[in-house]
């Protein structure tokens, strides 16, 4: 038996790691991965809460999150490729003109 809060804390840690990654990573792809990490953290809390409240809709939400994450990753990576083509860098600190 594991207290549910453990799951929540784990999810929180993952989320915090994601945010931190977003803050400290310079590579735009890694920054993107940090976002995925945050989403994963959220997913875990969804599943945990689903278990707590005995509501399967929590698990269904995870699917939606995954689909959205997939869509986001596709578009995001496409954008990254486009950015790389024009600016020849992946460093977010150098991509600061808000335009391609």
């Amino acid at each position: 038996m594991v207290p549910l809060s453990y799951y929540l804390v784990l999810s929180g840690i993952l989320f915090a790691c994601g945010v931190t990654g977003f803050l400290i990573k310079r590579n735009i792809i890694t920054v993107f991965m940090s976002i995925e990490l945050m989403l994963n953290g959220v997913n875990l809390s969804f599943v945990a809460f689903a278990a707590q409240w005995h509501a399967l809709s929590g698990q269904v939400f995870v699917f939606f999150v995954m689909v959205v994450a997939a869509a986001e990753a596709t578009v995001g990576l496409a954008i990254i490729i486009a950015v790389y083509r024009t600016r020849e860098t992946l460093n977010v600190d150098r991509i600061n003109l808000l335009k391609l």
Binding site: V19, F22, L23, I24, R26, I28, V31, V92, D93, I95, N96, L97, L98
Partner: protein, 672 residues
């Protein structure tokens, strides 16, 4: 179950025509535009006739609910149409006269630019006017009310490149706003106190209220406010000033809007709201006084006008004054009767005047006309019919309606001999200035330069028409008769001007009585029965005959005087004008009303707007506030600009910090 009459089609048909012409008319040929405009307005007329044919079998009032419009709590307004005797009369007048004027306009406007635009507006006007007439609640009526104002504005300013036309349009619009203001407040009062704007409900509620004989109350307020609205729309004292200026519009517009239909909307509204007025004697009295004064006032101005259309405009105001006088003495049917006959003969007068103007090449000053009866016989004879009608000669239409009004003004429990006396004097003036117009235009020698420029494109169309009542006379020269398409409406209206009154006021009254007497309070009935028991039989017999004789005499003396002044001894008016001196000047300048308005209302308004609103409020307060806040925002954003580094991670840092603050706040509030 009453049959579905598709009442909504009547207003919508012209709207369809207006939409088609307005949207695509530019690319259509004139013939196509015509076919659309005439087709749809004619269809509306045919529908109106069809409804009239079925009328006797209907359960009245016949209400057709099209759709729900506004629903807020208990308050509900529908797109619903209301048909009873009153609206049927209006319906027939509007569609019939409207259709005739459409036909007339074909000839009149043929060479004008913006042909499609004109017919689009004209159809649009028909739509709104029919909405107004058929509305089953005050709000829908108000929509039509405003809509005809809009159409009027568009049409008066039709020649918008002409400065006076544009400003006349604006003037009409603005003056009407004042009246609309009163109308709107009346509507608000109704919503507040009756919770509804539907005619049926409002009248039922009002019908249960006692008459406000002792003092002014809610109903008096509503009545007076409605009267303000009616005065604006129907050009009554003191809001009449826009109507003469509105003559800047094309003549068919003047005929349709500013003589036959739109300006009578006020009368229609008062008659429609008679239940309210019946229970508010003070309001009724105000209506009567305003009507009487307007009639007299406008007639005196009309005597000295030289512009043919201006004369007719003042004449219209004066006749509208009659109608209000009738309404003011609770003789609504007489008012509506006069409305109908007036639509015939005043429409005819305007159309004939248009024909005259057309004939002399755009000249409107009567002093430059003269002797035209030889050149434009058809116009002359139709105009003659109309002139006799408006002057009140039997057996023309105007005689019956005007006589009915005067008689009611005298005999009604609300009436008084003062109204009657002023009415008769006005009738004399009317007769005088109309025959003055008649003599100046058609008799004597032609005083203008021969308008040779105009004779190229119109074929002489004087061919014999068997139905025409007028004898055949031929004219030639640069001044020429109008095309047939303009003459046909003239002739039809002339016939109506002659015969329209033969229905008789009593029969008309009987026809309208289900509508107009349904809600009349016990007060007035009682008054009729008790207060004037002795007058009634006498009135029906000798008194009415006597009064009729007097009014006919007044008309005849007007004719004689006009003949004397303008045919027999043309120098006499000059002498009299000299003799009258200042008063004449005042009359010529329309009693300086425009100038007084300018000094009293317009100038202070402009000055006030300039000094206080613009320089004081707008520039020093509002602008300054905005400028200062903009300056402040600029300074703040200058400071904040450094946050917008364009660096993704900086933004993320701010977001994270902000989120931390929010979480901290939530935790703080949650744990307390």
């Amino acid at each position: 179950m009453t049959p579905n009459l598709y009442l909504w089609l009547i207003p919508v048909l012209p709207l369809v025509g207006a939409s088609i012409n307005g949207l695509f008319g530019k690319r259509f040929s004139r013939q196509t535009v015509l076919a659309i405009a005439l087709g749809f307005s004619g269809a509306a007329f045919v529908m109106a006739l069809w409804i009239a044919a079925q009328f006797s079998s209907l359960a009245l009032p016949h209400v057709e609910n099209l759709a729900s419009w506004i629903r807020a709590g208990d308050f509900q307004v529908d797109f619903a149409f209301y048909l009873d005797q009153l609206s049927l009369v209006m319906l027939l007048v509007v569609t019939g006269v409207g259709f005739l004027i459409h036909i007339y306009a074909v000839g009149y406007m043929w060479e004008e630019g913006g042909f499609y635009r004109f017919f689009c507006y004209l159809n649009l006007f028909m739509f709104f006017m029919l909405t107004l007439v058929l509305a089953s609640n005050y709000l829908l009526m108000f929509v039509g009310w405003e809509g005809v104002g809009l159409a009027s504005y568009l049409l008066v300013g039709f020649w918008f490149t002409k400065d006076s036309a544009a400003s006349a349009g604006k003037k009409a619009f603005i003056v009407n706003r004042i009246g609309d203001f009163g109308f709107l407040i009346a509507l608000f009062l109704m919503i507040k106190h009756f919770g509804s704007l539907n005619f049926a409900q409002v009248f039922r509620i009002v019908g249960e209220m006692p008459a406000e004989t002792a003092g002014a109350g809610l109903l008096t307020a509503i009545g007076l406010l409605l009267m303000v609205g009616a005065a604006g729309k129907s050009a009554q004292l003191p809001l009449y000033v826009w109507l003469p200026d509105a003559m800047e519009g094309p003549t068919p517009v003047s005929a349709l809007i500013h003589a036959a239909t739109m300006v009578t909307a006020g009368v229609y509204m008062v008659a429609r709201s008679h239940v309210v007025f019946d229970r508010a004697p003070q309001a009724l009295m105000v209506v009567a006084i305003i009507g009487t004064l307007t009639a007299l006032f406008a007639a005196t101005i009309g005597v000295c006008q030289t512009d043919i259309k201006k004369v007719l405009a003042y004449s219209t105001i004066s006749q509208l004054g009659y109608m209000f006088m009738a309404c003011g003495v609770a003789a609504y049917s007489a008012g509506i009767f006069h409305l109908m006959t007036h639509a015939f003969f005043k429409g005819l007068l305007f159309l004939a005047a248009g024909s005259v103007i057309h004939a002399v090449g755009g000249e409107q000053d009567m002093r430059k006309m003269g002797g035209l009866r030889h050149y434009i016989p058809w116009t002359f004879w139709t105009m003659t019919a109309a002139t006799f009608a408006i002057a009140g000669f039997p057996p023309f239409a105007g005689f019956f309606s005007k006589d009915a009004i005067l008689w009611k003004a005298f005999s009604s429990p609300y009436g008084s001999w003062v109204y009657w006396a002023i009415g008769v004097f006005t009738a004399f003036l009317t007769s005088f200035y109309m025959f003055r117009l008649w003599f100046l235009t058609f008799f004597g020698e032609y005083r203008g330069e021969a308008a040779e420029k105009h004779g190229d494109e119109h074929v002489q169309v004087i061919n014999s028409r068997p139905a025409a009542p007028a004898p055949y006379e031929h004219g030639h020269g640069g001044i020429h008769e109008s095309p047939k398409v303009m003459l046909i409406p003239l002739v039809i209206l002339a016939v109506l001007s002659v015969c329209g009154g033969w229905i008789g006021a009593d029969r008309f009254d009987k026809f309208l009585s289900p509508t107009l007497h349904a809600g009349v309070s016990a007060y007035s009935q009682e008054d009729v029965a008790v207060a004037t028991p002795a007058q009634e039989p006498k009135g029906q017999g000798g008194s009415e005959g006597l009064l009729t004789g007097i009014s006919v005499l007044a008309a005849a003396s007007g004719l004689f005087l006009a003949w004397l002044f303008y045919e027999r001894r043309p120098q006499l008016p000059q002498e009299i004008a000299h003799a009258l001196g200042g008063f004449y000047e005042a009359v010529v300048h329309k009693y300086y009303v425009d100038e007084i308005y300018a000094a009293v209302f317009v100038k202070p308004l402009i000055d006030g707007s300039t000094r206080i609103l613009w320089q004081g409020v707008d520039r020093d307060v509002i602008d300054a506030t905005l400028d200062n806040s903009a300056e402040g925002a600029r300074e703040v954003s200058d400071a904040m600009r450094h946050m917008q580094s364009g660096n993704l991670r900086s933004y993320a840092g701010w977001i994270a910090a902000g989120a931390a603050v929010v979480i901290a706040y939530m935790v703080w509030t949650g744990t307390r």
